[in-house]
């Protein structure tokens, strides 16, 4: 197979600048939010299965918080804002805890 592009082996990637450290979105318990609604938001926004969404909702309800997503900081901020749109109490933090 003929390569479409020849990799430039001289190119140096500065890996120290890459945001490799994962961040996470945490959803906190809020008495205002209905359980069925929280499950629906996790299913429809993140695309989680009913089982996973329910498990996360229970974690929020019983433990007071649950990590609902992990990844690059910018992506986690987008998710947190979406959670805020749905009226859920979400925060962003470094995953290394």
């Amino acid at each position: 197979m003929i390569p479409l592009a020849t990799p430039d082996i001289d190119e140096q990637l500065d890996l120290s600048a890459a945001p490799l450290e994962p961040w996470e979105v945490v959803v906190w318990n809020d008495p205002v939010n209905l359980m069925s609604y929280v499950v629906r938001v996790f299913r429809t926004y993140f695309g989680y299965s009913l089982e996973r969404a329910t498990m996360l909702m229970r974690q929020v309800h019983h433990d007071g918080q649950a990590i609902v997503a992990t990844g690059p900081r910018e992506t986690m901020e987008v998710h947190a804002q979406a959670m805020h749109d749905y009226g859920l109490w979400a925060t962003v933090r470094k995953a290394s805890r």
Binding site: P31, V32, Y37, R40, G87, T91, R93
Partner: protein
């Protein structure tokens, strides 16, 4: 499929109640909003409670857009309720309590659920609801708060049938 709808049933008195709440809410998050209002604060949670600088940067960048989206959601609900309005004072009781079907396009269902939730958040902030046990049966605002929860529950149930 774009013509899927979620049917919610509500009495005319309920519709009138919701119109009233949504209009107040549009005032709260509208063009003349007071961002110092604690109820507004409840709608824009702090994403970085342990990092003041990140928190301020994030909120400065996103707060207005987020509140604009709450206003847009509320407008969608308000438009759908336009036909529910009526002069309840002149209306026979059985007509006021007769149930009406409201068919919400699937694409508007999130706006409905977000608005019902936002209305509950605002009332919760006004009432100082902090945990699951906060309740005062003598305060009618709790009745409104619970009724909004019931309306939301019905909407989620109906919408989940389409998942």
């Amino acid at each position: 499929m774009t013509d899927l709808t979620v049917r919610v049933r509500m009495a005319r008195v309920e519709g009138a109640q919701l119109v009233h709440l949504v209009d107040d809410f549009r005032e709260l998050v509208g063009a003349n909003r007071d961002v110092e209002d604690p109820a507004i604060g409840r709608l824009i949670p702090d994403p970085y409670p342990e990092d003041e600088d990140s928190s301020r940067a994030f909120r400065d960048a996103t707060r207005d857009d987020l509140l604009d989206r709450r206003a847009l959601d509320a407008d969608i609900v308000r438009t759908a309720l336009a036909g529910m309005r009526g002069d309840l004072g002149d209306m026979p009781r059985d007509e006021a309590f007769a149930e009406h079907d409201l068919d919400i396009p699937l694409s508007d269902v999130d706006a409905w659920m977000r608005t019902l939730t936002a209305l509950r958040l605002v009332i919760a902030e006004r009432l100082g609801i902090q945990n699951d046990d906060d309740h005062d049966p003598d305060d009618p605002r709790y009745g409104v708060y619970d009724w909004l929860g019931y309306r939301l529950e019905l909407t989620v149930e109906a919408a989940d049938r389409l998942l």
